[in-house]
């Protein structure tokens, strides 16, 4: 295994483009090192991104959104009060990843690019409308986060492409988001179902909404029918019931030791209701 520490994303992309064997980028390493240790993936070239300038910064963009470096850890996101105030759902998804020790290292982009259908930070990012900057041999482009996952363990990134930043849109007024997951215990487990809701109010009524599910299909899924069920409502019981039904109907889960198909399908509806209520209260100004 060759270990590289490029100084720029262009150099990182060039290294990956030229590499002939198995290539991995190294952010927090909490997936890469587990796979290395288990003998599942021993990269021929490991490209550490943490020596690149700016990978540890979080900054407000001119329009009021956020630009987040690819090596910012979950714990660092959680310690940024202004970011948490804007996007509590995005941050709480990432903060569910692993233990204190894992939080000190794990990153949003690592979570996204590892390609787990159960990745906890991804539904929140998709619901928020986050984008990533993809840098490759022929330059950089912005891609919605939802277009990166391509099935378990797979991404839409091409050979020689690296993600060089995450952008969250401006929160704007009267908005709120939330992420909930179900696991069989309270800490350190893989989501059986995850659900993120992001919405904006006009008065008491929901004007815009996005509902996203994790761990119930080969990739994260956006459920427009679930959003439709609550748009124009004050999130009354009838709207919540329709929301839950639409979320459950969108599930195409697997059956495994953590949950059966029937269980996952039902829990998706339950989490959608609960996450929508939290997002609604946050949009109303609840902390």
């Amino acid at each position: 295994m060759r270990y590289h520490t490029p100084a720029t994303f262009e150099a990182a992309a060039a290294l990956a483009a030229e590499a002939s064997g198995v290539t991995r980028f190294l952010a927090g390493g909490t997936d890469v090192l587990v796979q290395l240790r288990a003998g599942m993936v021993t990269p021929d070239d490991l490209i550490d991104l943490k020596k690149i300038d700016g990978v540890k910064t979080m900054a407000r963009t001119k329009d009021g959104g956020w630009q987040i470096g690819v090596a910012v850890s979950g714990a660092e996101l959680g310690a940024n009060a202004a970011l948490v105030a804007d996007w509590p759902g995005v941050v709480e998804g990432m903060e569910l990843v692993g233990s204190t020790q894992v939080q000190g290292r794990a990153t949003l982009v690592g979570n996204l690019c590892n390609g787990s259908p159960a990745a906890d930070s991804v539904p929140g990012l998709v619901a928020a409308g986050a984008t990533v900057t993809v840098t490759g041999p022929s330059g950089s482009r912005e891609v919605p986060v939802g277009e990166i996952p391509a099935g378990p363990g797979k991404t839409a990134l091409k050979k020689g492409e690296v993600i060089s930043g995450v952008t969250l849109p401006p929160r704007g007024k009267n908005g709120g988001d939330a992420y909930l997951r179900f696991i069989p215990r309270t800490e350190m487990d893989i989501a059986v179902v995850g659900c993120a809701v992001n919405l904006r109010l006009d008065g008491d009524k929901i004007a815009e909404a996005r509902v996203v599910l994790g761990a119930v299909a080969p990739t994260v899924i956006v459920v427009p029918e679930a959003a439709k069920a609550i748009i124009g409502t004050t999130l009354d019981d009838a709207a919540l019931e329709k929301l839950a039904q639409a979320a459950s109907a969108a599930c195409k889960p697997i059956d495994d030791k953590r949950g059966t198909v029937a269980f996952r399908t039902d829990v998706a509806g339950v989490l959608a209701r609960r996450a929508a209520k939290i997002a609604y209260d946050r949009a109303k100004g609840a902390k």
Partner: protein, 159 residues
Amino acid sequence: MSKIHVTTKVNGDDVEFLADPRESLLDCLRDKLDLTGAKEGCGTGDCGACSVSLDGTLVCSCLVLGVEAQGKTIETVEGMAQDGDLHPLQRKFIEHAALQCGFCTPGILVAAKNLLERNPDPTETEIRYWLAGNLCRCTGYDKIVRAVQDAAAEMRGAA
């Protein structure tokens, strides 16, 4: 496989070693620097027995490459006692019998020290969540939590 020369600071001392890039920081600490306090319970980030502080951040040293330690500052359990005097956490672990086999203890001590540096007066819930990534198969955790609370009180000058 060519080895990489790494210079780093461990418990205040400048040290250097040659690492194969595949080797974890845990392997380098134990096998090259003879610091065998950090233990390998799982090697996959689940048990916390390998916990060390890396530039002040609590990490699993099994999930850090040795080569990533270049230019960093590392603290391990070996650095907790000062001039032969045990750290208050170490003393309280003995007083409260917060260990049986002791395999998890170095990791838990390092993790608890890191917590108390951030939060000198943590609640029981905060302690339990902070230590959720440190598994103990012997004690049932209660005595560990008491020992951390008692050490925190002493360090605040409240006991």
